[in-house]
């Protein structure tokens, strides 16, 4: 593959990383929750999709239609119950709870599905590609996923900026108490934010399942890490920052793969560390003034 090809691949996969990251970013931005089970939720979505396909026989590509709404509701419920209860007890408790959730999910998956990896079989769609010139070959699937990711991020951005509930979410994120004084039930708003986060991560998980494989532990050893890195690189400031962060991560990984295919992920890790040192607030984030 050429360098240009690598960069294009990186950009496209970066869109998927951004989709992974936006849910993590949203939950932290709005309720200051670092969801350590974030990656595992994506894997659960993948397994759920496998199950849904097996039961309903719908084409794998459309499995998200059932899975995403289920996850949205699950996110709301989980936030209103488990996570809210732990928030009331403090930040550290919440971290432990999401960590515990991650452990529980992984072990439950191991129990039911064994350690074998799965993927969402979509047949020839995986490898169908088009070419630009002799050295550049782009898979339709990757382009489709990138487009979906960008559309979702755009939609989320518009939702937050223009809709009434988006405004309430931003208000609660700015000052929860002041929002309460304006009549806002912040726990309900937290629930909506969690629902959105779960929905996006489910979509991302299914997309991942199409281009790659997942196993019970993929959540923590790969997906959470990518999401985290994309958020940190891009900064918590805006969704476009998250997109930029995802793309940078993707590109760096692909370039790393060009240099030495074994170092693909290492390259991403290194860039993440460097950025953490020189600009910890990320590309679009603001230094907190204390």
């Amino acid at each position: 593959m050429s360098w240009v090809n690598a960069i294009i691949q990186g950009i496209l996969i970066g869109g998927l990383y951004a989709l992974f990251a936006c849910g993590l970013s949203l939950m932290f931005g709005v309720m200051k929750v670092i969801n350590l089970a974030h990656g595992d939720l994506a894997v659960v979505a993948g397994y759920l999709a496998v199950g849904v396909i097996a039961v309903t026989h719908i084409p794998a590509v459309w499995s998200f239609i059932l899975v995403v709404p289920i996850f949205a509701v699950a996110g709301y419920v989980l936030q209103r119950t488990l996570i809210q209860a732990s928030l009331n007890r403090g930040v550290l408790t919440t971290l432990l709870v999401t960590f515990g959730l991650s452990v529980v999910i992984e072990n439950a998956l191991l129990q039911f599905f064994s350690a074998n990896s799965h993927s969402l079989g979509i047949g020839h769609l995986v490898s169908d590609s088009f070419s630009i010139g002799p050295q550049i070959s782009i898979a339709y699937l990757l382009v489709a996923i990138f487009v979906v990711a960008v559309v979702v991020l755009l939609g989320l951005q518009y939702f937050l900026s223009l809709s009434r509930h988006g405004r309430l979410i931003r208000a609660v994120a700015d000052d929860r108490e002041a929002a309460q004084l304006s009549g806002v039930d912040y726990r309900h708003i937290f629930g909506i934010a969690a629902g959105i986060a779960f929905a996006t991560v489910a979509l991302a998980g299914i997309a991942w399942g199409m281009v790659s494989t997942f196993a019970p532990t993929t959540g923590t050893d790969t997906l959470l890490l990518f999401a985290f890195e994309a958020v940190v690189i891009g900064g918590l400031g805006s969704l476009w920052g998250t997109l930029a962060g995802g793309i940078i991560l993707g590109v760096v990984q692909q370039i790393g793969a060009q240099i030495n295919s074994a170092d693909q992920f290492l390259a991403g890790q290194l860039v993440f560390l460097v950025l953490l040192v020189i600009r910890p607030q990320g590309l679009t984030g603001q230094r907190s003034t204390t």
Binding site: R164, R167, L168, R170, A171, A173, D174, D175, E177, A178, A179, Q180, L181, S182, G183, V184, D185
Partner: protein
């Protein structure tokens, strides 16, 4: 020599308060409210009644419990004992959101605007759960004439006085029956403070009753129809500004034994040491 019958006390002597009860049902009533911050008792047995049309001012030094009182009324703080009634209905256990629906809106200390939202968006959030009534965003723009042109500006970029006006507007659009104002003057230049307090008559004319906490005693006296002084969590003075001499205010504020002798009142009892 203090005037006869001075109703002044140190915190361990409850106010020998013989102010005659005002007639009718109060709009907002606080009954023997006691509140803690952890182990620290911030309020002890505080009672007050706010009637429709009042500008009820709570004054007192730092640590007197003024803001705690207001926050408890707004629902942000849970009292230890005592109750809060709005138009006769007990709201003590209600969350702040429910109290807004019932008609209590607070402009919190330090403004607390939604910094990343624009001026208009702040007002829109304020009207998200508004009660029916005369106030809306348009009317707030009429009250604060500069606001309409700046409504697209991010709230964090406004000056202190401008933020204060937006914060008041945000509470007003919910159409409260009782508006709580917590330390409006904090951090603002005197001229700005006067201008903001100058909007009070407009609020009253539209049927809003005001309960305010103010650090600047003179400023409070300028606008209040009723005055209530707290000292270390207890009431040391309650009455109408006309009937209160500056000396009584001073002693109620500082609570210094010897500044005024509790002369002709009923014998005060000492609080047993705890």
């Amino acid at each position: 020599m203090p005037p006869a019958g001075a109703e002044v006390s140190s915190p361990d002597q409850p106010a020998a308060d013989q102010v005659p009860e005002r007639a009718g049902t109060p709009l907002l009533e606080v009954r023997t409210l006691t509140a803690h911050h952890g182990q620290l008792r911030a309020l002890t047995d505080v009672s007050l009644s706010v009637f429709p049309g009042d500008v009820y001012a709570i004054i007192g030094a730092n640590g007197a419990g003024k803001s705690t009182l207001l926050r408890t009324i707004a629902g942000l703080h849970r009292p230890t004992t005592g109750s809060i009634l709005l138009d006769g209905a007990d709201v003590t256990g209600q969350r702040p959101e429910r109290r807004l629906a019932a008609g209590i809106a607070m402009v919190p200390e330090g403004r607390r605007l939604f910094g990343s939202l624009t001026v208009e968006e702040n007002l829109q959030v304020g009207s998200s759960y508004a009660r029916p009534g005369p106030w809306n965003i348009e009317r707030v723009y009429e009250l604060f004439s500069w606001m309409r042109d700046r409504r697209g500006q991010r709230a964090a970029q406004l000056s202190g006085g401008e933020q204060q006006s937006v914060a008041i507007g945000r509470a007003l659009v919910a159409n409260p029956r009782v508006l709580l104002l917590d330390e409006l003057s904090l951090g603002l230049a005197p001229l700005i403070v006067r201008r903001i307090y100058g909007t009070l008559p407009g609020l009253l004319a539209a049927g809003v009753t005001v309960l305010l906490v103010e650090q600047d005693v003179s400023q409070a006296l300028r606008v209040a129809t009723r005055i209530h002084c707290l000292l270390e969590g207890r009431t040391t003075l309650e009455g109408s500004p006309e009937g209160v001499s500056p000396q009584r205010i001073e002693s109620a504020y500082f609570g210094l034994a010897g500044v005024a002798s509790p002369g002709g009142g009923p014998s005060a009892h000492q609080e047993p040491s705890s």
